[in-house]
């Protein structure tokens, strides 16, 4: 168990600034999930911690020791790769034992550690096979086993589930979480899958264009997104974001079509007419007469629920999640539940809290 701290970590490739300064502090045994779209720098961040890239500036501290200049093997860190990166010519046992052999552990120690890890992961019967004789899920387990046997201070996961099919992904997700909980190893987990992000992490770091945008518990990120990017990124289908203006006395938002939504949690600061962006999740729109009129484009039945995608009068797209019903009409009127309204600044995109 160890803490992990990143201080003003930056990385540039030539003139491209991939990471623009990240500060992060993980408590011992904590699992932090880094999520973001492709190219947001999340993988680079992980590779910097692993020692596979050298930071342009900044510090990486494991248990208070700066490891930024050390070789990957000296950092007491284990990484699980997206494509598993198993040694194709070695058996499962040798794959897990390789790093230990290099470190010069005794034969008995190696055998015991590998056996323990194999039992934990249900690989006991497969130790003599080579990777090509294994299924995707089994390979994934071997990759994790290789990380576990080293008894590292920090685990790094680089999108470890994205090569698996959907059912297996759900199963492995739960397994990783259980394993991490039991072993209490400080972990960084990079993913672009928001379901993984929501379910796996103690805390969630959302990254955008090389910068951290929000660091909080998954529920907090979901309930109080720090800006419009996070609001649109977390949650499926995405939150509806619409331009609006601050109404009289800061007590309401006025949509472009003149609809007034009174804030349920108090007034917002600013002059009347301040530019806002209001957000409402699809599940918080109720089909009810007298609301916003939408013309329906597309209906996506999901079984228990149905997602309806339509356009408002000004052409903006709106998605609505409703309980599955019979037929869907061509137009529909939806009412915004004001207690679920998110308010952001129209220019900076930052969340505007009630005063």
């Amino acid at each position: 168990m160890a803490t992990l701290q990143l201080e003003n970590l930056k990385k540039s490739f030539g003139t491209t600034h991939v990471l623009k300064g990240v500060d992060l502090s993980l408590a011992s045994g904590e699992m932090l999930v880094i999520v973001g779209a492709s190219g947001c720098g999340k993988s680079t961040l992980l590779r910097l911690v692993a020692g596979l890239e050298t930071p342009t500036s900044g510090q990486i501290m494991v248990d208070g020791r700066d490891v930024a200049q050390l070789d990957p093997a000296q950092r007491d860190i284990a990484m699980v790769f997206q494509n598993y990166a198993l040694y194709p010519h070695m058996t499962v046992f040798d794959n897990m034992a390789y790093g230990l052999r290099i470190r010069g552990l005794s034969r008995e120690d190696i055998g015991k550690r590998v056996q323990d890890a194999a039992n934990t992961l249900g690989l006991g019967a497969l130790l003599k096979r080579t990777p090509r004789q294994l299924s995707g899920g089994q390979r994934q387990r071997v990759a994790m086993g290789r990380a576990i046997v080293r008894e590292p201070k920090v685990f790094l996961f680089d999108e470890p589930l994205s090569n698996l099919d959907a059912a297996l992904r759900v199963q492995m997700r739960a397994e990783i979480r259980r394993l991490q909980r039991r072993m209490r190893v400080t972990s960084l987990y990079v993913t672009h899958d928001q379901v993984e992000a929501m379910t796996l992490g103690d805390r969630l770091l959302v990254m955008h264009l090389g910068k951290p945008v929000q660091l909080a518990t998954p529920m907090e990120v979901f309930e109080k997104p720090a800006n419009t990017y996070v609001a649109g990124f977390i949650g499926a289908p995405s939150m509806n974001l619409m331009p609006a203006k601050l109404g009289h006395g800061g007590a309401s938002a006025v949509l472009e079509d003149g609809h007034v939504i009174t804030f349920a949690d108090g007034r917002r600061p600013g002059q009347d007419g301040r530019k806002l962006t209001v957000g409402i999740r699809p599940e918080h729109l109720r089909p009810e007469p007298g609301g916003i009129e939408i013309f329906i484009d597309l209906v996506e039945p999901l079984g228990s629920e149905t997602v309806v995608i339509g356009r408002m009068k000004n052409g903006e797209l709106v998605s609505v999640k409703i309980p599955s019903a019979g037929s869907i009409p061509e137009t529909m009127s939806v009412v915004i539940a004001p207690e679920h309204l998110h308010v952001f600044d129209g220019e900076t995109g930052l969340r505007v809290e009630a005063v």
Binding site: G51, D71, A73, M79, F81, Y87, H89, Y98, I102, R103
Partner: protein, 278 residues
């Protein structure tokens, strides 16, 4: 592969024709080796071997013509030369391909292109300067002089570079996090992973080394360094005096080692040339 229930006669005839085209000359040499030299010289050679004359092979192997080495000695020289050239080429090529693929160093691309350009300069082209260099090192008429100039190989370097480029970065990174340094990575991961390509390369290079003619002819005038290929040529003298049956028997013997190597390594050879990704 397309499998149909019926035998495809057209395809099979073409294949059989191809086999005949390759096998017939070899068969003629074998048949000739068991017949009387004068008959062959006259041109009435039977295509049926005279099996009572198979003793010629042991005679050729062990009995030397005047001023020459017995065939087994020449075969040893050839075998040694082919092995040293094949292993030497593989060793040097792996090292250079490893360097230009996995490391960043100044003038890396210059190094790569310099190696690449030597493709245009095979031994035959640079034979005079190479001879001069070998003479300068006093390596004429030595086994070193026979093999070393044939070792540097751009072809093998390029092939290994392609193989290495196909190895996923994550494998390198996994080895790094496991604590494997450059040499250990080469030995434990890279060479085993490229084993099929290595075997294919070995077969090609062994045959290449075995078939060398021009360079051994120039650099080794000492009969003790005669390779089997040189030996055959030396046996062919004046038309009437040439013992054609002995020449043909030697030719058959000269064909055997490459065939054995190819047959033994065939499975690996095909795998190495066809298996793209692993």
């Amino acid at each position: 592969m397309i499998r149909t229930g019926k035998v495809d006669w057209v395809a099979h005839s073409i294949l059989l024709l191809g086999v005949a085209l390759f096998v017939l000359p070899v068969w003629l040499v074998f048949a000739g080796s068991t017949q009387d030299s004068a008959d062959i010289a006259r041109g009435d050679m039977s295509i049926v071997p005279n099996l009572s004359q198979l003793g010629i092979y042991s005679s050729v192997l062990t009995e030397a013509a005047p001023g020459a080495q017995p065939v087994w000695r020449m075969m040893m020289v050839s075998f040694g030369m082919a092995l040293v050239i094949a292993f030497g080429k593989i060793f040097i090529s792996i090292m250079s391909a490893y360097a230009v693929t996995f490391f960043r160093f100044p003038f890396k691309m210059l190094c790569f292109w310099t190696i690449f350009i030597t493709l245009m300069l095979p031994v035959e082209v640079r034979i005079v300067p190479t001879f001069k260099v070998m003479a300068g090192f006093n390596l004429i008429n030595t086994f070193t002089g026979l093999t070393v100039p044939l070792m540097a190989s751009a072809t093998a370097t390029l092939l290994f570079r392609q193989t290495f480029l196909a190895i996923p970065d994550e494998l390198v990174e996994a080895a790094r996090t496991d604590g494997a340094g450059p040499l250990r990575f080469l030995k434990d991961i890279l060479v085993p992973v490229s084993a099929a390509n290595l075997a294919a390369m070995f077969v090609i290079l062994f045959v290449y080394g075995w078939n060398q003619y021009m360079w051994p002819l120039l650099v080794a005038t000492d009969p003790r360094l005669d390779t089997i290929v040189i030996g055959i040529v030396k046996m062919i003298g004046h038309e009437a005096l040439t013992e054609w049956n002995r020449v043909m028997a030697t030719a058959v013997l000269a064909m055997l080692p490459p065939v054995v190597v190819v047959v033994l390594m065939q499975r690996w050879f095909v795998k190495g040339l066809t298996e793209g990704d692993k």
